[in-house]
Symmetry: C2
Subunit: 181 residues, 2 copies
């Protein structure tokens, strides 16, 4: 290969890895803002933009993290259903790949957050309402009224999200969105 071509391809691959790093870093920042730990988000980002399954060692190497850290976060990601492990026959090592379909990924996240955070919150709110429903002091009435409103809102949101998620790959959602002019 000529000097020029070689130089170009080096430059190109540098450009790619710069962009890739930028993406991984920022996906990590975004994760923190939404209550997800940075490393977990970064591993997810890495697998998202990599076209093949990676081993734990490759991930450790790429992100410069320890084995323990990599393993723990890979397991968490699998628990969320955002990645899956792949076993290649003849290899004892485990490889990981991310769900690439963005809509499926979104549905998975919504489903899990509903289950882990929204439902429990609704239960707490219901409990608060029940425990104060019969009280008559002005303070109590205000409290109950507000918690009831929050509870109803969250149940509504929960229901909406269920419907959105259930529609999965159908085109119902994009279609329905037209009505939100």
């Amino acid at each position: 290969m000529s000097g020029k071509t070689s130089t170009d391809s080096v430059a190109e691959s540098a450009r790619l890895s710069a962009a890739r790093d930028e993406f991984i870093t920022q996906w990590g920042v975004m994760g923190s803002a939404w209550g997800i730990n940075r490393t977990m988000a970064q591993i997810h980002a890495l697998l998202l933009v990599t076209d093949r399954a990676l081993s734990t060692d490759e991930i450790m190497d790429d992100l410069k993290i320890s084995r323990g850290n990599a393993n723990m976060n890979l397991r968490d990601l699998a628990g969320w259903g955002l990645i899956r492990s792949v076993i290649r026959k003849g290899e004892r090592k485990e490889f990981f790949e991310a769900e690439k379909d963005v809509w499926k990924m979104f549905c998975t996240i919504v489903r899990e957050r509903k289950r882990r955070e929204i439902r429990p919150a609704i239960n707490v709110l219901k409990d608060c309402v029940e425990r104060t429903d019969d009280l008559t002091s002005a303070d109590a009435v205000a409290f109950t009224k507000q918690t009831k409103a929050l509870c109803e809102f969250m149940e509504m949101a929960d229901g909406v999200l269920s419907k959105v998620v259930r529609s999965q790959e159908s085109s119902i959602v994009p279609w329905a969105l037209k009505f939100l002019k």
Copy 2:
């Protein structure tokens, strides 16, 4: 007042404050899960279920936090637009009250998160796409394809949220939701 009545009202007020504490605590827990600091969420919770504006000192006292902490988080909450300060004539002290309308509160949160997190993320993605669009290696193509998909999805989500938020107090949203069967 009779002994019985007195006893009952003591019990009732204990019941109320137990429920209130539970609510505040859990709202704090939920906050952390969504990337909001615990104290900020707790102050918000306290103001949400209190029927009058509270002073910094009352908040410090109720949540057992320092003045600095209270002040900083109150300012943040005001920055989000979730609370507002109230000046009573004749008083030099500042009081705070939360927006009580749940739908307005939701819109405020969505608007701010869009501005602070979603938009910047979209910009990063666009940047990544631009910087790699012309590369032809298999890796680069996979990268660009995936970031493009994420970018488009987030722009779509951003648009949907804008529409939802813009409809503000209208009944368009509840109505449209019927179509998400």
